[in-house]
Symmetry: C2
DNA sequence: CCGCTCATGTAACAGGTTACATGATTTA
DNA sequence: TAAATCATGTAACCTGTTACATGAGCGG
């Protein structure tokens, strides 16, 4: 049940509409958690009912009206409780890994295509995270920012996201090299 | 619906019982996918009904009887199809990241405890993966093995698992350092 | 004799995904 | 004028988790 806490954590940075949150959770800009828009809307409704967030309507003329949410006191203490609770470690679940696991029994060319796609995707995310990090620290050095900045949570999670995607990209490229060398070595088959 | 393909991929290495598979998927020894024992048993039943795997009973005297499964021809072609199908990229979903995202609003000490626990867990996995990799390549060097070994799929996924856990450990330790330095700097708060 | 491992499941529930629905405005 | 973006949801379905059930042998 961590989606609700992920939403609370995302709302720590200010007021956001369901739409804004949904978008960042869907595209992975909220790089610490992923969720479908429908999930986010549903969770917001539940959070408001439970009094953990409060929404206020904003009337817009050239856009549909929207509701902006902020975390309440009760919401903050929920986050505290959640932080204290011990967690089961999160596991990897990745289609691409399943495919590579079967590498010796499936078509290598197809696999290489998929690996290349993923490598490109990873690079896109790397660039995005780089930009986000630079934006957060401004003109300070990373060390300076982490020592004295006043909102380092998102920076730290973004760093993990960056390292993760770099790992993805490097592994994909290495795997591609290995598969290609083997194809050259002992024929297509 | 990748659990079924993960099970198929795991069965490429030989015959296994439901119990053996369930254990490795649960503990993450099958480091490319995670699943509960109950899920594995259910999936095996479905796979057998669909003719993608075949089971044979093995009578044991001092142990309950068991059923060993192997992949059928139909199963192999299913794996091929799956490999060719494009996938949606897998996203991170990690409680610990949610907690760090909220780092500036929750108790730092509690967070550090959780980070330390995770770092230890990551190190345990690193050691496990190291052993597994060494076991797979035997006395060959890694390069030699990847070039000429006859079952490199599990080796490659294990490499990704290793890098992932190293990333986890390093990030946890770095985050701990950052949080501790800040606590020293401007008092407990 | 108590708890662990081997061995396989069922059932209820919580969480996540996909499809559908609506409707205005800005951009190409 | 067609597509993308803003904005918010409902409903059906599939997947994953937790709890429960059973039973025999092995090690301390």
């Amino acid at each position: 049940m961590a989606l609700r806490h992920a939403v609370l954590a995302a709302l720590l940075d200010g007021e956001f509409s369901g739409y804004q949150l949904a978008k960042s959770f869907d595209l992975g800009v909220a790089n610490f958690w992923h969720a479908q828009p429908q999930q986010v809307y549903a969770e917001l409704a539940r959070l408001e009912t439970d009094g953990l967030i409060a929404g206020r309507e904003v009337i817009q003329k050239s856009r549909p009206n929207k509701r902006l949410f902020r975390v309440t006191e009760a919401g903050l203490s929920q986050l505290d409780e959640f932080t204290a609770a011990s967690e089961k470690p999160s596991f990897i679940r990745d289609d691409l890994l399943v495919k590579v696991q079967a590498a010796d029994h499936v078509d290598a060319e197809t696999l290489v295509v998929q690996l290349r796609e993923r490598a490109v995707l990873a690079q896109t995310k790397i660039d995005l995270f780089d930009t986000l990090l630079r934006g957060m620290r401004g003109d300070r050095t990373e060390e300076e920012f982490l020592r004295h900045g006043d909102r380092i949570g998102p920076y730290l999670t973004c760093m993990r996201g960056l390292a993760f995607e770099q790992g993805n990209r490097d592994w994909c490229e290495h795997t591609i090299t290995v598969l290609n060398e083997r194809r050259q070595a002992h024929g297509q088959r």
